[in-house]
């Protein structure tokens, strides 16, 4: 027992030492703030986007949406127990996928456009083939012991999921089995995003940390702290060198991966609502953040200033997404509508 206690004490000391080392290393490279060096950059001015389409069809709260890689189709998930696939150019509904469990929290479109995945309080990620005559369940990925909060396809044969059981997982869709389990968070994983080069992904969790993972090795490469409450949303800056997080602490933050620290925060004393979702415009200059205050606020990512707002929803904005071609932004809400703006 004494030997164990001695080892525990030594390990604790080593942990504290390493944490101090990391903080010191971060401080050593912190030679200037982002907003300071953005002083020379022209302001974007007021960003005023117009509502182009109001998509009606869901009968209950919308929890998630995801654009197809073709920047035209989009899938949304609602507590009414349905996934709807929309043609956003016409506003028409293309396909309705009835869900086994109405308690859906996440939805994803495969890059090929052939598959969609959804999951929620049933702890299962269900993958559907939507190119069949009528949507067919391809796989039920059942191994998480907590709710499914987010999922993203790497291809038609691989998908990554984030769960309330504090783990993320890479699945092989051909066998339906887990390939890699990513464990390190100590709170529910709420959101994930794939890096542009698809070698890594980031996850945000209720432990207020964001983590960068290597997909193939399963290791957590970097951890980012600073938020004081659950991180609900996470996204990559388009260059792949930085990440944006949105949290229940009412702020968003940008962390640079190569500087290994927060470089700018996005908060405003007048904003007292948690952030539910984040999306970036194609140049990375604009951050669209959905809040519990029924609005989607637009931030200038370089200067940290609020530059616009998308108002119109009658309830919490639960999901936000910008398509690959960057031609618009979609907001989904608990008011059961999806709105397209540009």
């Amino acid at each position: 027992m004494a030997a164990e206690k001695a080892e525990m004490d030594a390990l604790k000391k080593e942990c504290d030492g390493l944490r101090a080392q990391i903080e010191a290393a971060r401080k050593a490279v912190n030679d200037g703030s982002m907003s300071a060096s953005a002083g020379g950059v022209e302001a974007v001015g007021r960003v005023q986007l117009k509502l182009r389409k109001n998509l009606k069809g869901h009968l209950a709260k919308i929890y998630a949406m995801h654009w197809s890689a073709d920047s035209r189709q989009m899938v949304s998930a609602s507590q009414d127990g349905k996934l709807l696939i929309w043609d956003t150019f016409t506003g028409n509904k293309l396909t309705a996928v009835p869900l086994k469990s109405a308690w859906v929290m996440s939805v994803a479109f495969a890059p090929s456009g052939n598959l969609v995945a959804s999951g929620g309080l049933d702890n299962i990620c269900t993958v559907y083939n939507i190119k069949a005559a009528s949507p067919k369940t391809l796989r039920e990925l059942d191994a998480h012991t907590g709710y499914l909060s987010c999922s993203r396809f790497l291809s038609d044969s691989e998908i990554i999921t984030a769960s309330g059981d504090t783990t993320c997982c890479l699945w092989d869709l051909e066998t339906g089995k887990q390939k890699v389990v990513f464990t390190n968070h100590i709170g529910d994983c709420m959101s994930l995003a794939l890096s542009p080069d698809e070698n890594s992904f980031i996850s945000g969790a209720c432990d207020s940390l964001a983590k960068l993972w290597d997909i193939r090795s399963g290791t957590c490469k970097q951890t980012f702290s600073g938020h004081t409450s659950d991180i609900n949303a996470i996204a990559f800056f388009p260059s792949g060198n930085a990440i944006i997080t949105g949290s229940d602490d009412c702020s968003c933050k940008m962390y640079d991966l190569r500087a290994d620290q927060e470089v700018i925060g996005y908060q405003d004393t007048s904003l007292n609502a948690g952030v539910t979702s984040v999306a970036l415009s194609n140049s990375g200059r604009l951050i669209f953040a959905g809040y519990d205050d029924f609005n989607c606020h637009i931030w200038d990512s370089l200067k940290g200033e609020k530059v616009g707002v998308l108002s119109g929803h009658d309830n919490r904005v639960s999901c936000t997404g910008v398509p690959a071609d960057g031609m618009g932004v979609c907001t989904g809400s608990w008011d059961s509508f999806l709105k397209l703006w540009n």
Partner: protein, 107 residues
């Protein structure tokens, strides 16, 4: 050490979990976050600490660049790609995919 754990909780009546799912019946398990202080066995404590040390060593070994350099490169990316960012520069009225094309009557 405080650990977040979740246990399935059957509750009567209305219950709002984190994401706001409302449940009026008791058939479904709703997972809520709970703070519990767990006293783990000394063995699992030790192996957890060893793993934590290895993880911190990995994270400490990351090569870091200066924040000023990172900021400059992020700015450069934004400025170089600004022209192609439709949400920043606007979408030409004639070619807005989300807008109904106006029909012109040829007289």
């Amino acid at each position: 050490k405080i650990i977040y754990t979740h246990a399935p909780v059957h509750k009567e009546g209305r219950h709002w979990c984190k994401k706001g799912h409302c449940r009026v019946k008791t058939e479904y398990n709703i997972y809520i976050k709970r703070l519990t202080v767990t006293t783990m066995t000394s063995n699992s404590n030790l192996s957890t600490m060893r793993r934590l040390v290895e993880q911190l060593k990995l994270e400490a070994s990351v090569e870091r660049i200066k924040v000023s350099q990172a900021a400059t490169e992020l700015q450069q990316y934004c400025l170089q790609n600004a022209g192609k960012d439709a949400l920043l520069v606007g979408v030409p009225t004639g070619s807005n995919p989300f807008r109904e094309p106006r029909s012109c009557a040829v007289v």
